[in-house]
């Protein structure tokens, strides 16, 4: 708890001393930011034919360096409630923040492999996005081999936003992070090489709806500020504990509306029903490597922020927001699973599957306990690797004509016979999505459901199990289709995975298996073991034990 927020409240005067900033702790973000900036400079100064390779190395090494720096900081924040608030408590470096940042960086690195994949001089991105689709100008650029190497700095900025999103210490920083993360993604979504109109439509939709949700988020922040007199998470928590900051009489409705509106903003990013509509359209329209990035990194970042807000800032109001989360979680699990059943396009199916998984993770949020936090963290990491692997497979299955991806599920029949290894990896990913034992998906589901049951949310878990039974149905249907059906007339051509895509698939397979067979080392160390009196996590809201004890306030 930083006293600074209270001083802000008491005297909103200008602070004259310069803030003391620990640049060491901020270094992972600074590195990513620097790489992004250098990337822009490279666009300006490097010769055209060298840009891609320079950008790739720059981005790869930058992400790697940031990851190493993140890992190095783990030692600094051991033990419960350990963590450091930086720059007036606007950025928090604690266990969950480091875990989420590390996960985002690794997943971004794997996604980068897909983004960089090149085949016969063609990447997944439009030659020149500014040209009118189908125009002669576009064809010219295509023939000239133009490339959008700006993709790399854009990805870096998005990753920077994600890093900040999960470690923000107040609502305003979080909002800025949200925009830093989202704006590059809106752009990236519109850059698909094939079906460009479709892609641009998706980008525009994503942008409009994203802006809409941001407005909700901002409005919620204003409400909460009205109630608590501060935007700092710790201060909001204090204010809720004290029954209001004293600035407004009977301010509770303000708080409740604020919680609800902030929830809308965050649940939109997560893609929970009824804020999920953008997901299928955007996932389908965006270039598949970018879809992989969004399905893994953005989801991790959104949940990281959601967990921080609801465990720290609103940790004292669990009873107020829990029913709302129940409703959203149930809607998400039921509706998305039901719609997914009739999907015929692989990317749309994976999009709905991502929505269902968000519902499963929400059950852990409902638990509001250290176990719930640990379960959600494990689930996100495991799901991230699996989903990148699945999208990597999607990039390889191409239509016979035009070279676009063969999204139609019917075309995937018999894939198990023509390319067994690819089909086997996809089957593994699908089994992990379905939560079959010995895959990481099973452990993740087990962990979040266990936490939810311990917190008394058994009905929610029953809905979750039923929903996962429905989802298992369509995952298994794909496996059956791939291995037991005869190849379709319009059988797609399956590209041989290049070194980059191959690595991404192998990483996905390895992570899915290792986290499924040896989950112990990760699962046990996610959360610092709670101090003995806090072990009774079954009644987390009682006796001053708040779910956010793993976060620094």
């Amino acid at each position: 708890m930083s006293p600074l927020s209270l001083s802000v409240l008491a005297a909103p005067a200008v602070i004259t001393e310069p803030p003391e900033i620990d640049y060491g702790l901020l270094s992972p973000m600074l590195v990513v930011f620097a790489v992004g900036v250098i990337g822009v400079a490279v666009e300006a100064f490097a010769p055209k034919d060298k840009r891609r390779i320079v950008q790739l190395w720059l981005a790869g090494l930058g992400l790697l360096a940031a990851f190493v720096l993140t890992v190095l900081q783990v030692g600094a924040v051991t033990g419960p409630e350990a963590g450091v608030a930086i720059a007036f408590g606007t950025v928090m470096v604690d266990g969950p923040a480091l875990f989420f940042q590390g996960t985002i960086l690794v997943l971004a690195l794997v996604s980068l492999l897909l983004i960089a994949e090149h085949r016969d001089g063609e990447s997944a991105f439009a030659a020149q996005a500014a040209t009118v689709p189908g125009s002669g100008e576009e064809a010219e650029h295509r023939l000239a081999g133009s490339q959008h190497t700006e993709v790399y700095p854009l990805v870096m900025f998005a990753v920077l936003g994600m890093q900040l999103f999960v470690s923000a210490g107040d609502f305003l920083t979080m909002f800025i992070a949200l925009e830093v993360m989202s704006l590059p993604l809106y752009l990236l979504c519109g850059l698909a090489r094939t079906r460009r109109l479709f892609s641009q439509e998706a980008a525009l939709k994503y942008f409009l709806l994203g802006a809409f949700s941001s407005a909700f988020f901002l409005f919620g922040i204003a409400m909460v500020y009205g109630y608590a007199g501060s935007v700092q998470f710790g201060a909001v928590h204090e204010a809720i504990g004290a029954g209001g900051a004293g600035t407004i009489e009977n301010g509770e409705p303000l708080l409740l509306i604020g919680i609800a509106l902030i929830a809308v903003g965050l649940l939109f990013k997560v893609g929970a029903v009824p804020f999920h509509n953008w997901k299928p359209d955007v996932y389908q329209g965006a270039p598949t490597p970018i879809t992989a990035l969004m399905a893994s990194c953005t989801l991790v970042a959104a949940f990281g922020a959601l967990l921080r807000v609801f465990y720290v800032a609103f940790g004292g109001a669990v009873w107020e927001w829990r029913p709302m989360m129940w409703v959203v979680a149930i809607l998400t699990m039921v509706v998305a699973a039901a719609i997914a059943v009739t999907q015929r396009d692989v990317k749309r199916l994976l999009a709905y599957s991502s929505v269902v998984h968000a519902g499963f993770i929400l059950t852990a949020v409902v638990a509001a306990s250290p176990e719930g936090l640990a379960g959600a963290m494990f689930y996100l990491a495991a799901y991230g690797f699996t989903t990148i692997g699945a999208f990597a497979v999607v990039t390889l299955v191409r239509a016979r004509e035009g070279g676009g991806e063969a999204g139609e599920l019917a075309q995937w029949a018999g894939l198990g016979r023509t390319s067994p290894f690819l089909a086997c990896s996809l089957a593994l990913f699908l089994l992990a999505f379905a939560g079959i034992p010995l895959t990481s998906g099973f452990i993740g589901k087990f962990a979040v459901f266990e936490a939810a049951v311990a917190a008394g949310a058994t009905p929610l878990v029953i809905v979750g199990v039923l929903s996962s039974a429905v989802t298992a149905f369509f995952y298994v249907r794909i496996i059956v289709l791939m291995f037991f059906a005869d190849p379709a007339e319009s059988a797609p051509k399956v590209l041989k995975p290049g070194a980059l895509t191959g690595t991404a698939i192998i990483v996905g397979v390895a992570a899915t298996l290792i986290l499924g067979v040896f989950p112990g080392p990760v699962l046990d160390n996610l959360v610092p073991q709670p101090v003995p009196e806090a072990v009774n996590g079954t009644q987390p809201a009682e006796a001053g034990m708040v779910p956010g004890d793993m976060f620094v306030r």
Partner: protein, 648 residues
């Protein structure tokens, strides 16, 4: 039969320490790796695959010997070691472990499995030399060894069941190894089906145990078993027995074993004589505390054992197929073991001792039979053998030693261990003890008769060979394992039983021997002398019938007993009438039920889900404006729930 030894039998189980025990999983890993390499490696491993399989089996054996010595370095009471191999998942109060139990009982089995297994691997190099798919054969053998080791090393019923199913799978694959023979395919299927019946028993037993005690690990289970209700324990005991009957070919699930002889002979020796079929005995002995808490179940075990012991002997007397005659003998000998295991602590050590010696001499006999078949163009009908002793001297000598051991010639392996069972049966006391004891004595006489019949019909008498038969001795790779097994058939019994060495070793697990070792009593007790007399009578009768007299080329009509025995005591007819026909009717009925009721339900649900899915899909219009509207409604719902809950 109250267990007055129970206190001594509960050794304290300690966590494993020391490198040898910590790496006990290597025992299983070696053959498993071998199987994986051979199966995945494909044709590339054809040239050296079998050597790899042998190396893996031998490595496992070497590790077993090392483990034995490491175990012996502890005080007897500390010889139960749990090796936690790997904790799969631990969330909240739930944890799932894979742990192995190294104790005198399991290490005895491990040594038998890897030792005899390695010998049979070596033998198979020669036996399968001309088979195109020898690599696959060795892969399955390795797979079998690994699964069997999982079975005996498991420290809980769940893992045991995994091994149990694993050996079932390996057995299925190996019985049907020559799939092109319809009889082999049918036999494999039959073994598979009958074993399923037993497996269901075991599975239900495990479920009952878990619901009653909340655990399936041996240690806590056996501690809690004496305090549990009679009814539950009896039910569990009978269900475990059903499992044991399936795997060990005991009545009424015996019918598959004779047909299983369709598999290659090394398989018959390893799986259907020495190791897998004894898994039932292992299960009963390992579950001792459960059976001791359920005297009724114990009584049923002894009855099943005694009945099978006589039925198997009867079948052995009548079969002309050398392998089927030996299979009948296997049934009968396992009947002995099951009987002893049903006697409780006084019989456990005797059962295990007989199991080990039987593993040696029966494997030796099967390998001998295989060697004969190898030299006789795969002829199995003993009426086409005769006077082979000069053509195949080594086979004759090794087979002969195994023969002398199994009929119980004093001071050979079989005598030591069979005497132990006879003694234990009479010592168990009461009328039951007398009945069981006389059954074992009668069995000893029958054993002498049918084994002599095999011996004389094969190696003595006149040549009755087919015209193109040119019997010849088998190659070294086949004879050497036979010689090793023959040495075991001669000496192993004395080694294990004299001074109750094995019984003392097993004491921490199964309870100490109930009296001092007394050689004079063993040789000169009236029962021992009766057994000897019956044996001599059996041999003499066989000599008259099959060595002195001519053996007709076709089987004589025989009286009704012979005919019944030849037909395997109508086991198949019973199965057909009792299970297959009602089963067919039941299948038809349930298919109809499934089609109309279950499918109707399932399809109805599926239709409903699909219908609602189609309906919901319509909300996905693609228009950003309608999405925004949905979001607005969503936000309204979220705000309403949050406010509503607090102010309602």
């Amino acid at each position: 039969m109250t267990s007055y030894l129970a206190a001594e039998a509960t050794a304290v189980t300690a966590a494993a320490d020391g490198a040898v025990h910590t790496y006990a999983w290597l025992l299983i890993a070696f053959p498993l790796l071998g199987a994986a390499i051979l199966l995945l490696g494909g044709r590339r491993t054809n040239t050296w695959g079998h050597w790899l399989a042998i190396a893996m089996s031998l490595a496992s054996f070497a590790w077993a010997v090392t483990s034995l010595f490491a175990l012996l370095s502890y005080a007897p009471a500390d010889r139960s070691r749990v090796v936690e191999v790997y904790r799969w998942i631990e969330v909240g109060g739930f944890s799932a472990d894979v742990s192995l139990l190294l104790d005198p009982l399991s290490i005895t089995f491990v040594l038998l499995i890897t030792g005899v297994g390695s010998l049979i691997h070596i033998y198979s190099v020669g036996y399968m030399a001309h088979d195109d798919s020898r690599r696959r054969f060795f892969a399955y053998l390795n797979l079998f060894v690994a699964a069997m080791l999982v079975l005996v090393l498991a420290d809980n019923y769940a893992l045991l069941f995994l091994g149990w199913e694993g050996v079932g799978l390996a057995s299925y694959l190996l019985i049907g190894f020559w799939q092109y023979k319809p009889s082999a395919a049918v036999a494999a299927k039959k073994a598979f089906l009958i074993n399923r019946v037993g497996d269901i028993g075991l599975l239900i037993a495990i479920m009952v145990l878990f619901t009653t005690f909340g655990t399936v690990a041996f240690g806590p289970l056996f501690e809690a078993a004496p305090g549990a209700g009679q009814g539950v324990m009896t039910a569990v005991g009978l269900l475990l027995l059903l499992g044991a009957c399936g795997k060990s070919a005991q009545l009424p699930l015996q019918a598959w074993l004779l047909d299983a002889m369709e598999g290659p002979t090394p398989v018959s020796a390893l799986i259907h004589a020495a190791t897998m079929v004894t898994a039932g005995v292992y299960l009963i002995v390992r579950s001792g505390p459960i059976f001791e808490a359920a005297p009724t179940a114990q009584l049923v075990v002894t009855i099943v054992g005694a009945a099978t012991l006589l039925a198997g002997a009867a079948i052995g007397c009548a079969k002309d197929d050398i392998k089927k005659a030996l299979a009948g003998s296997t049934m009968s000998q396992i009947g002995y073991m099951v009987l002893a295991a049903g006697l409780g602590p006084i019989g456990y050590a005797a059962a295990i001792a007989h199991l080990v010696t039987h593993g040696f001499f029966k494997a030796g006999l099967f390998l001998g039979a295989g060697s004969v078949m190898h030299g006789m163009n795969d002829e199995v009908d003993m009426r086409r053998y005769g006077a082979l002793r000069s053509a195949m001297p080594i086979t004759f000598a090794t087979f002969g030693l195994g023969y002398l051991a199994i009929i119980g010639v004093p001071f050979l392996s079989g005598w030591w261990t069979k005497e132990g069972i006879i003694q234990a049966a009479f010592d168990s006391g009461g009328v039951t003890g007398q009945i069981l004891g006389w059954a074992t004595l009668l069995g000893a006489g029958l054993t002498a008769f049918y084994m002599s019949r095999i011996m004389f019909m094969t190696f003595f008498g006149k040549k009755r060979w087919a015209e193109d038969a040119h019997p010849h001795e088998s190659p070294m790779s086949m004879t050497v394992p036979m010689i090793v097994l023959a040495v075991g058939s001669v000496a192993l019994g004395a080694l294990l039983v004299f001074n109750y060495t094995l019984a003392q070793f097993l004491a921490p697990v199964v309870g100490a021997p109930h009296h001092e070792f007394d050689l004079a009593h063993m040789v000169l007790s009236p029962y021992s002398l009766i057994a000897l007399a019956l044996m001599l009578a059996g041999v003499a009768f066989a000599w008259v019938r099959y060595a002195r007299a001519d053996v007709p080329g076709a089987a004589p009509k025989g009286n009704f007993v012979t005919v019944a025995a030849r037909n395997e005591l109508y086991g198949n007819a019973v199965n057909e009438g009792l299970f297959m026909r009602p089963g067919l009717v039941l299948t038809k009925a349930s298919t109809a039920f499934d089609n109309s009721v279950v499918d109707g339900l399932v399809n109805g649900v599926a239709r409903w889900v699909k219908g609602s899915s189609e309906g919901l899909r319509l909300t996905q219009t693609g228009f950003a404006r309608s999405y925004a509207l949905t979001m607005l409604f969503g936000a309204a719902i979220v705000v309403a729930t949050t406010l509503g809950v607090s102010f309602a």
